[in-house]
């Protein structure tokens, strides 16, 4: 029997299904993955469907693209319980949970206005993961803390 969520969006032939995204965060997940829709892949988003584990959840399906663990792990910032299903010929061939990397590059900037990374310097902001739950990151340069709310504000 098909579950509710599967009824809403059909199964994909090949690609990646990101499941167990906290409700309302599917678009933020796509933003972290830098998927804009202009890449040409068919992307389906299901938001606020019921889930045994989460109550409500979002699901993202990206057809024709298998996401690598390195690029997907960053979504643990906002979707720590997400599962990544790699689908080939309608079958799930790989199922993985996401693990937050110990360092975060590229996607966040430091909220400290006096941090050197916010000045005219050729430097990429870098953050260490101090704690996963509750989420807390520390700026490599100035030491400021970023929490879940600070991360969400930027995504």
């Amino acid at each position: 029997m098909l579950s509710d969520s599967e009824l809403k969006v059909r199964k994909i032939k090949d690609g990646t299904v990101i499941d167990h995204i906290p409700a309302g965060n599917a678009l933020a997940v796509l933003k972290i993955l830098n998927i804009t829709g202009r890449e040409g892949h068919t992307v389906s988003i299901v938001m606020n469907v019921s889930s045994k584990r989460l109550g409500l959840k979002d699901i993202v399906k990206i057809e024709g693209r298998e996401l690598k663990p390195d690029e997907v792990n960053k979504i643990a910032l906002i979707a720590p319980n997400a599962t990544i299903n790699i689908v080939r010929n309608y079958q799930v061939v790989e199922k993985k949970s996401v693990t937050l990397p110990s360092e975060i590059y590229d996607i966040l900037s430091c909220p400290n206005p006096m941090c050197v990374t916010n000045a005219n310097e050729p430097v990429t902001p870098r953050f260490y993961v101090d704690s996963e739950s509750p989420l807390r990151l520390r700026c490599h340069y100035c030491g400021w803390f970023l929490e879940r709310e600070d991360v969400l504000k930027q995504i």
Binding site: N112, M114, V116, E121, H140, Y141
Partner: protein
């Protein structure tokens, strides 16, 4: 040398042992660093720290180049810090950097292959001040362990306070953090400190003065208060004078990173408690020690 966190207790003690040896050289001078150049890059005005580093280098026989104005030509022309330090790397053997931005010294160190010493980075850190503060305690009281150390004033924006608190976590001390609510220690520092030493936070000096072995005083800056009436209310409560010191232990030492404005009554200078001018001399010894260890091993 970017952060006080870079040092273990053993390393701190080693720097202090070498600083003890610098006492005689301080008077006579030496040429152990002849031919070495210290680049003193001060993007923010400073008197004590800059003169202290430059004195230390000259006493060891080395030379000093640099600037002491934020208005220097390359910055005016829009050059960034990463470029400035890469240029200076060709002139000098060590860079001493004071910069208004937090994390500036760490960034500079990533761009050059010569040592960078952080001489103050925004409100974040001032690690060599912490070294000389702890050295002062060791010299004046013979130990740092098992002391009750009070830190008074602007704990939120005071970079010397941040580095000192972290540095003291290498020792078995009890910290009394005394400040108005608004100027309490920044959370990231407080949590780190609390993991390692016992901390008491209070807004009243008179409640804890009799317990202290060391009272470290910092200035409360008027500009931190949105409401000047609020400032006027607290300023008297954080002033150290003969009255409050009557309740202190006889052996209490009073320290201050200077400049002092009105937070320590000048009358206190003539009591056996005052150590703030000794700190200045110890600062040169500690910086001599650091430069010697960095540049000649």
């Amino acid at each position: 040398m970017i952060s006080i966190r870079d040092f273990s207790r053993e390393e701190l003690e080693y720097i202090f042992d070498v600083a003890d040896e610098m006492e005689s050289i301080y008077r006579s001078g030496t040429d152990v660093l002849r031919g070495k150049i210290l680049a003193s890059l001060f993007f923010e005005p400073s008197t004590r720290t800059r003169l202290s580093f430059e004195t230390a280098m000259i006493k060891l026989g080395g030379g000093v180049v640099g600037f002491a104005e934020p208005d220097i030509s390359s910055v005016k022309k829009g050059e960034n810090l990463a470029d400035t330090v890469r240029v200076v790397e060709s002139y000098a053997d060590v860079i001493v950097l004071r910069h208004p931005l937090e994390g500036a010294a760490r960034l500079a160190a990533e761009y050059v292959n010569i040592p960078v010493i952080n001489a103050g980075s925004g409100a974040e850190e001032h690690p060599t001040q912490a070294l000389l503060d702890i050295y002062t305690i060791r010299r004046e009281l013979g130990r740092v362990d098992s002391l009750n150390i009070g830190i008074l004033g602007d704990l939120r924006y005071g970079r010397t306070v941040h580095s000192l608190c972290i540095g003291l976590t290498n020792y078995d001390v009890k910290l009394f953090l005394i400040s108005p609510e608004l100027l309490r220690l920044r959370r990231e520092f407080l949590e780190e400190v609390k993991k390692k030493v016992e901390v008491v936070e209070t807004d009243r000096l008179e409640r804890v003065i009799d317990k202290l072995d060391v009272l470290y005083v910092t200035r409360i800056q008027k500009e931190r208060f949105a409401d000047l009436a609020e400032y006027e209310k607290v300023r008297g409560a954080y002033r150290v004078d003969l009255d409050i010191l009557q309740r202190a232990k006889e052996s209490l030492i009073v320290m201050h990173p200077l400049p002092r404005v009105e937070e320590i009554d000048p009358e206190v200078d003539y009591t056996p408690h005052a150590r703030y001018f000794d700190q200045v001399r110890y600062g040169v010894l500690v910086r001599m020690s650091l430069l010697k260890l960095i540049l000649s091993g």
